[in-house]
Symmetry: C4
Subunit: 209 residues, 4 copies
């Protein structure tokens, strides 16, 4: 029994290391986003008259910062709910998690693209696709980890499983926004805000149960 | 009772993950500040005569580095005192904390603005507003977490609550400095140093009790 | 006995600090890689026609991002298996680990070189040499930590030792790729993909035992 | 007694948060150093002939990377030995630690200065002064934490105290190197390597006891 206890702590400790590494990548990815917002350059005698306009003109950058901060935060919240019951892991879970982290660490690039050329379709499509792939990988990690309960410390109740199932469909809205972008780039960006609201409502419902 | 103990550890572990993520953002935000101080570029034959002047001319950058380092460190110290008694969290606490981290990760931008155009009013106002919003969000997190003691492991004594209440008024000094900036930009920056001193005195008093 | 228990926890705690620092360096190194992929600059009226081509032209950068992300992830997975049984450390282990972290933190530079001049031999050689040195240092850390079992909490079974011994030969493939690069730079890069596959197969075998 | 145990865990947990934040700053500072080594820019047709020379010409940057990596690693090793016996902290310890972290996070700037203008005296003086201040702050933290044993879990043996006392004189070598730099900039840089060797010998002696 002591041995069992020890092994339990063992895998617990390993799990902690994946979680710590993931949290490191999350923390750096959301903090690096600010490096993309550069202070506008102008001659000293024009600062008083032109700085306000120049700062306002950066609004696509602020929007990108906000969207990606919320996007990665949402990734974190889902990642955290998925890993809470996980007590052990295997090679496949490690690979899926690294693939997911590769997407998280990639987010600053489409964000920068969106901040620079946000009124064009291609950046909007790339941005939506990146976040959709991240969400799909989270769904894959959840599906894999609950497959036969081998990696969890106890079976999840059907409510939780259903909750993740419903949430797993949210990336579809990202894909939808790619369709919308063929008609209107602005409307596609608005779709993401709708998705955030839907996400929050689903989470609220779940929490109040 | 074993179940209770387990649940206690569960939420303790979740709390640790929020705290770790927050510490990651704090650590990166204070370390990224240095990237804004760039080595001046000059031809090799002028280095001996011009490097000293060029390095001294960077003083607004050093001031910004110092102010933001102290500002974020103060955020951390308050965050740490607020989260010490927290044992569980809910959706609202998560949202408030992410909103706060969004401000922490944003600080390098107004710092860069202040280092570039610190003798103008707008950068000073934006800088003061950013730090004030950060402090107000910390006050909101503290207020929410102690609201009904549901998230704490034990009720806080009235002294602690009063201490945070008094500290919660410090952002008002930031807002005051915005008012001051309409008359003198330099005086507004000096207000922040006064605030740091007030902060340290309040903390000293609190600690000696 | 209490003292012994305390000392055990002591060294466990110290070990955690090395592991945390290492995970910090891993997390930052893989997340900084994205800073090397810069959004192409072009006049607004050419975006629709030229952005797709400009983004596709960045493919050596994407390849470098992918290769280094996988390379550092593999470093992490090996590092994690090596440190799992380690319970205490000494000065030599600390030095070896810092030397290894110096290589991990260095990876973004050869990656950037490869993304810029990947069709030339020198960048390919430097990249392969960096990853080979990293792998060799991991082999050295493993060899040192298992030398006399003094730093482990229990002796490793011969299967595990053999597994690491076999894995220790993989850097040889990196060195081989340097030889290949004298004939074909493209072929040398392909060698790395073969190595990744070999790595995954060895790991799979090991895990299924 | 339960209350005592709880308080003990409390301060242990708080201590962990300072240590984690510090490790975050250490990890980021050593990993950011690489951002200062930029891939040289040249037209495609000159790469074969000029890239080797251009990469060799970056040697002051590699030297700076190596020196600062070793410098910050040494900071970490000393920080870790100082904090190992610390179980509680107070306001002064927090302030000293933040002041020290401000120096750690600052290191990339003098490193960049040294890599750019390392054959001039001023960068060498600034670099030596930065590392000396860091070491002095570590000595201050150690002195403060052991002052009356209030913050430690047990009194330190005289050997350990003497070890730190001797080590506390090493910054004097940095200050000496500033004196040397008035006669020869190159000799001043060599002084640092001598200091590293002295440091390693002192540590070796200490460890073998």
């Amino acid at each position: 029994m002591v041995a069992m206890g020890d092994r339990g702590r063992e895998s617990g400790r390993d799990r902690d290391r994946i979680v710590n590494l993931s949290d490191g990548v999350f923390a750096i990815a959301i903090t690096l986003l600010i490096l993309d917002i550069r202070v506008p350059d102008m001659p000293e005698n024009l600062v008083t008259t032109e700085l306000p306009t120049a700062l306002l003109a950066l609004w696509p950058k602020y929007l990108g910062y906000f969207l990606s901060f919320v996007g990665i935060s949402t990734f974190w919240m889902i990642h955290q709910s998925i890993f809470r019951p996980i007590r052990a892991y295997d090679r496949v879970l490690l690979y899926l998690n690294f693939l997911f982290l590769m997407v998280v660490a990639f987010v600053p690039f489409p964000t920068s693209l969106l901040g620079e050329y946000g009124n064009h379709q291609l950046p909007v499509v790339i941005y939506a696709a990146t976040l959709a792939v991240g969400r799909l990988l989270l769904t894959a990690i959840h599906w894999y980890s609950t497959r036969d309960g081998r990696l969890l410390d106890e079976a999840q109740d059907p409510g939780t499983v259903r909750f993740f199932l419903i949430r797993g469909f949210i990336p579809a809205i990202f894909l939808l926004s790619i369709g919308v972008s063929f008609f209107s780039v602005g409307a596609a960006i608005w779709t993401w805000f709708i998705m955030l609201a839907v996400d929050a409502i689903i989470l609220r419902r779940r929490m109040s149960h």
